[in-house]
């Protein structure tokens, strides 16, 4: 468990930006911006938290829930994509923001890891927040604004009763993290789906990334899947069916692209927060994160 201190109570003129990789288990879960969801789903199990005033979506990074270790045997980062919130660690936003980075940011109280931290000045020579601090503040604020925008779409998943807890049978504590029950979603009527996308496709995007990313969850934490119906069953019941699944089993995502998990060892760069714009999939329309 990591505790945080208000940044304006920080006694020194600079803060150490520790690489977060020694603290992944303690961090546990990170909020994601809407521009990060589609890419992050390829590398992390995504989960919704319902323990705040409104639902928020993010990535689980605890080793005990993932099928793959984010740190390779050589101690190198293998997460491939590093979420904005992780790049900004050990800083995070407080609950309410005022526009003042010194008042709105908190810093984690952690034991320094083996890697020497990179220090950043909090203020420039004129006493204003430094460029690097503003960059981090901007990145974290962008994620926060995304969360506010996504809350309404996540509410739709709650209304449709599609979210189920990620139940950890090894723990007696109730889960704070939720994912989509694929079986329930597959029974959605056309009218229900039409209603879900009447104003935007976002809710279906969220269903997609939550179910798609379950491949990264430890198998026993995934919602149970029904056995695929046979073609004859599907015709008889009139239900939509992935008939191919009977003959083409679902693939393990790890086999085709081992290099995808090697990651870019230089990917973590606290000064590079503002480059975490919408990671457009090589579209000619690379759009920045709203708010950037």
């Amino acid at each position: 468990m990591i505790t945080y201190t208000a940044l304006n109570l920080w006694p020194a003129p600079a803060v150490p930006l520790h690489p977060p990789f020694a603290h992944l288990d303690a961090i546990g879960w990170l909020p994601l911006g809407d521009g990060e969801l589609l890419l992050a789903a390829h590398y992390y199990p995504l989960a919704v938290r319902l323990d705040g005033p409104s639902p928020v979506i993010g990535a689980l990074i605890r080793r005990d829930v993932m099928v793959r270790d984010l740190i390779n045997p050589n101690g190198r980062w293998s997460g491939a994509y590093t979420p904005v919130a992780l790049r900004c660690f050990p800083l995070r936003l407080t609950g309410k923001t005022s526009g003042d980075p010194m008042a709105d940011l908190e810093i984690a109280r952690i034991v320094p890891g083996p890697v020497k931290p990179r220090g950043i000045k909090l203020k420039d020579d004129a006493g204003a927040p430094s460029t690097e601090l503003l960059s981090i503040y901007k990145g974290l604020s962008s994620v926060r604004q995304s969360q506010d925008r996504l809350a309404a779409a996540l509410d739709l998943l709650l209304v449709a009763d599609l979210l189920v807890p990620i139940a950890d049978h090894r723990s007696s504590k109730p889960s704070a993290f939720y994912t989509v029950d694929r079986q329930r979603f597959s029974k959605s009527s056309n009218h229900m789906l039409e209603a879900m996308v009447r104003h935007a496709f976002t809710s279906i995007d969220l269903v997609t990334v939550l179910t798609f990313s379950q491949a990264h969850l430890r198998a026993d934490l995934r919602p149970a899947m029904a056995p695929p119906p046979t073609s004859a069953d599907a015709h008889a019941s009139g239900e939509h069916s992935y008939g191919f699944e009977a003959i083409l089993p679902w693939l393990d995502t790890s086999e085709l692209f081992p290099t995808a998990w090697a990651g870019d060892p230089t990917a973590w760069s606290p000064a590079d927060v503002t480059s975490a714009t919408t990671p457009a999939p090589f579209s000619a329309r690379a759009e920045p994160l709203p708010g950037d």
Binding site: H42, F201, H240, G243, F244, P249
Partner: protein, 259 residues
């Protein structure tokens, strides 16, 4: 292109032997292969899924490589049957000569399915293969399995084509220029790819598609969007392949120009 020389499945053709799909260079090398919406969950974690425009039709397809000479594929996708799209797994059998198939339900009547075979030579057979038919005219197991796969896929292709047609009618596609300049001295371009417009995502424009096609379309469009991020892996694979084995102009047909 997956198919080279489709011929009717009759007469002396029935005396040919067929081999594992991976024994055929067309299967191993095809970089854009048509799939059904029902296959999207299977491939979206590995390859970009987009619509490939052929004439006026938008065909759902998986992009397996930026190169069409057999390089740049993930290794496993060329060595394991399980990674092949249904059309590849049914190879060399096919519905009809490429380009003549009409999309839509009922346009591929049962008795016309699988009545063509691609007359390509298996350049890398791993065994002695199988005849198409037994001497008494019954299809062999290898033939029956592949034709059964095509029969099973036919209504799924029809439904997939309907989704593409509706998206097109609603003008919800935009071009996806999968083009990269100066990759190891080459320009890579996989042309005629289309994706669902970003504007359609941010508005309710897809509601009519949900009303008509429901969960199949919801899954397809969601997975299509997720899958586009695999283009980066294809680029890394292509770079690596070009660095290791510089290709001749003739080999890299997909490169339409040099930077």
């Amino acid at each position: 292109m997956l198919y080279e020389r489709p011929v009717p499945l009759k007469g002396d053709v029935l005396k040919q032997r067929i081999f594992s799909p991976l024994a055929y260079v067309n299967v191993r090398n095809a970089n854009v292969v048509g799939i059904t919406a029902h296959e999207a969950p299977r491939y979206s974690a590995h390859f970009p899924i987009a619509w490939h425009k052929c004439d006026d039709r938008f065909e759902l397809a998986v992009v397996r490589s930026l190169l069409d000479d057999g390089r740049g594929h993930p290794t496993a996708s060329q060595s394991a049957l399980t990674f092949l799209p249904a059309l590849c797994r049914a190879y060399p059998f096919m519905y009809e000569p490429a380009g003549k198939a009409e999309p839509g339900p009922g346009n591929i009547p049962t008795h016309h399915r699988s009545n063509f075979i691609d007359a390509a030579v298996a350049d890398a057979p791993s065994d002695i293969g199988s005849p198409i038919c037994y001497p008494d005219g019954r299809p062999t197991k290898a033939t029956a399995q592949r034709i059964a796969l095509l029969d099973m896929a036919a209504p799924m292709f029809a439904e997939t084509a309907e989704i593409g047609r509706q998206l097109s009618e609603l003008e919800l596609f935009e071009a996806w220029p999968l083009r990269f300049e100066n990759v190891e001295g080459h320009t890579l371009d996989v042309p005629n790819l289309w994706i669902v417009k970003q504007d359609a995502i941010q508005t309710g424009a897809l509601a009519p598609v949900m009303r008509r096609h429901g969960i199949i379309a919801a899954d397809l469009i969601g997975l299509h969007r997720v899958s586009l991020f695999r283009a980066g892996i294809l680029l890394a694979n292509a770079k690596s392949a070009l660095k290791m084995t510089p290709a001749s102009d003739a080999q890299i047909a997909v490169m339409d120009s040099r930077s």
